[in-house]
């Protein structure tokens, strides 16, 4: 099947000389939820902005539903909806007016029934005659989503949709995203939270310093990357890891007072209790335990070093 979005060799160097994207290749399948995961400054917004026509690419091409976003921008942009990262809305318009305006701006005939449906889905219908400036931050974000959906896009971009959002809106948003996916809308969202990508996405792309480091189905990626580390602080220092524990993936701290155990997050229930039992069987007393989930940073470090090793 032809990808709904096809990005090839996309690079962007800003006027400042900063290389925000480095030859990015990415294909998005119709109807999937794709999460672009990366820390601040990785180039997520730049990538989205190029697809949407807000930033001009330095090189490379983007096809949205088969239409080149630069040469055939009308057809391409008509299929795309964007919820930007920043909360920017007209202050003096009413909710209804601004959403209807968005629909018209994207070349759609007025359709009050559809606008009503979108507003109801976002719990905005009661506020339809309110001026946007009187709404709370969460409500404003809902308005931005309604605007993005006003022209019935087939590709929806959500740039950091849950940054600074309350629990209720977050839950509503994920519900909406799933419903849209069921309607056949392709959704691409950016985030710098691993658990968010994990919760929502079918596939995850990891981006750092402008390079797309990997693209993987969520399950596989979580297996690969979702490492946990348990540190056992011992009462008595050990000179070496006891032979009885040789088949465990353990490392001993230089002072001999701490054992690090690294395991897959999935194996949690099996590994940790078993290790504890083995330790007490061996008469190794410990005074403290702590566990640590691999952070995004750790993942990048491991991915980058992995790639470096493969290249060699």
């Amino acid at each position: 099947m032809r990808p709904i979005l096809s990005i090839s060799g996309l690079s962007k160097t800003y006027a400042s000389g900063l290389e925000a994207l480095k030859r990015v290749d990415l294909e998005i399948t119709k109807g999937e939820i794709f999460a672009l995961l990366g820390p601040n400054g990785a180039g997520k917004t730049t990538l989205i902005s190029i697809v949407c026509g807000i930033v001009t690419p330095t090189s490379g091409t983007v096809l949205a539903d088969g239409h080149d976003v630069v040469r055939d921008y009308r057809a391409a942009r008509a299929t795309i909806g964007l919820v930007p990262q920043e909360l920017s809305t007209d202050m003096f318009e009413t909710v209804w007016a601004t959403v209807s305006f968005s629909r018209g701006l994207f070349g759609r005939e007025p359709d009050p029934a559809y606008v009503e449906k979108v507003l109801r889905e976002l719990s905005l219908y009661d506020k339809r005659d309110d001026r946007i400036r009187t709404l709370s931050g969460g409500m404003k974000r809902r308005v931005l989503i309604a605007k993005a959906l006003a022209h019935e896009p087939t590709i929806l971009f959500l740039d950091e949709p849950t940054a600074g959002v309350d629990v209720e809106l977050r839950r509503d948003m994920w519900e909406l995203v799933r419903r849209l996916r069921d309607d056949g809308v392709t959704i691409i969202l950016t985030t710098h939270y691993i658990d968010e990508a994990e919760e929502m996405a079918d596939r995850i792309g990891v981006i750092n310093h402008g390079s797309l480091i990997l693209v993987e189905e969520k399950q596989k990626l979580m297996k690969k990357l979702g490492k946990k580390q348990l540190t056992v602080h011992l009462v008595e220092p050990l000179a070496a890891i006891p032979a009885e524990l040789a088949d465990w993936p353990l490392t001993l701290a230089p002072d001999g007072l701490a054992l690090d155990f690294t395991f897959d997050a999935d194996d949690e229930r099996v590994g940790v209790p078993l290790l504890m039992r083995r330790l007490s069987d061996l008469g190794l007393g410990f005074k403290d335990l702590n566990t640590r989930q691999s952070s995004l940073e750790d993942i990048f470090v491991s991915l980058v070093s992995q790639r470096g090793a493969e290249a060699r």
Binding site: C52, R74, R77, P84, D90, L105, G107
Partner: protein, 232 residues
């Protein structure tokens, strides 16, 4: 509503101050009663300043608040965006010009010799300066910059542009200097459409206004082609 009441009051004040205070001492200019003589100039002043401020605020505000993203991501051509913004700004100021004209007619006998030319000058000036305002609104990076050109350049030029006097009344040196002021041509041509009296030929007026219009159009074209201040 407010945007129409204000100019009506301002115009009335102008007539009280200029019309009665100065007009009583300067009865006629070029055979036209002073009060009536200043009407075209007054309208032009408002059209110029309103077009520039409508045009510049219209595009600066979305840039400032960030809502410009929607325009940039919409399936519309740059020329359509310009038409929409400049068209809206120009329409507003033309309506304003007509309101001032109607208000003036309550105070002084206004006579329009060439209504079609009058409308043509009105439209051309409103469009040209809305376009000019649009350029300022794209260029400006702050509210200060947004105000500085209208304040430092346009306001002096309009007040020295012969709105309240005929440049024939000036000493020769100042007359020559005034001819370098583009606003003189606008006001002169517009006044000709009322009273058939003008400082410079109406053809020259028209040519100058058109020239400025095309310069602005060229600048906007360049801005959109390069993505100036809109796209990085």
């Amino acid at each position: 509503m407010q945007s129409l009441v204000t100019p009506v009051i301002t115009t009335a004040l102008y007539f009280v101050v200029f019309g009665s205070a100065i007009g009583s001492r300067m009865s006629e200019v070029d055979g036209v009663a002073y009060g009536a003589f200043i009407v075209p100039g007054l309208i032009m002043l408002s059209i110029l300043s309103q077009s520039i401020s409508n045009g510049s605020f219209g595009i600066y505000m979305p840039r400032f608040t960030g809502t410009i993203y929607e325009l940039l991501s919409a399936p519309i051509a740059p020329i359509e965006a310009v038409l929409a913004y400049v068209g809206a700004a120009a329409t507003k100021s033309v309506v304003l010009g007509l309101v001032i004209l109607a208000t003036s007619a309550l105070f002084v006998p206004v006579h329009v010799a060439h209504p079609l030319w009058m409308i043509a000058f009105l439209l051309l000036t409103a469009t040209t300066f809305s376009l000019f305002g649009f350029i300022i609104g794209l260029w400006a990076e702050s509210f200060e910059q947004l105000q500085i050109i209208p304040m430092l350049v346009i306001t002096p030029l309009t007040f020295l542009g012969g709105a309240f006097y005929s440049i024939d009344m000036l000493p020769p040196v100042w007359r020559t200097i005034s001819l370098a002021n583009p606003v003189v041509y606008l006001i002169s041509g517009f006044r000709w459409s009322f009273y058939e009296s003008s400082d410079v030929g109406v053809g020259v007026s028209l040519a100058m206004t058109l020239a400025f219009f095309f310069v602005c159009l060229g600048v906007v074209r360049w801005m959109f082609a390069t993505g100036y201040r809109l796209k990085s």
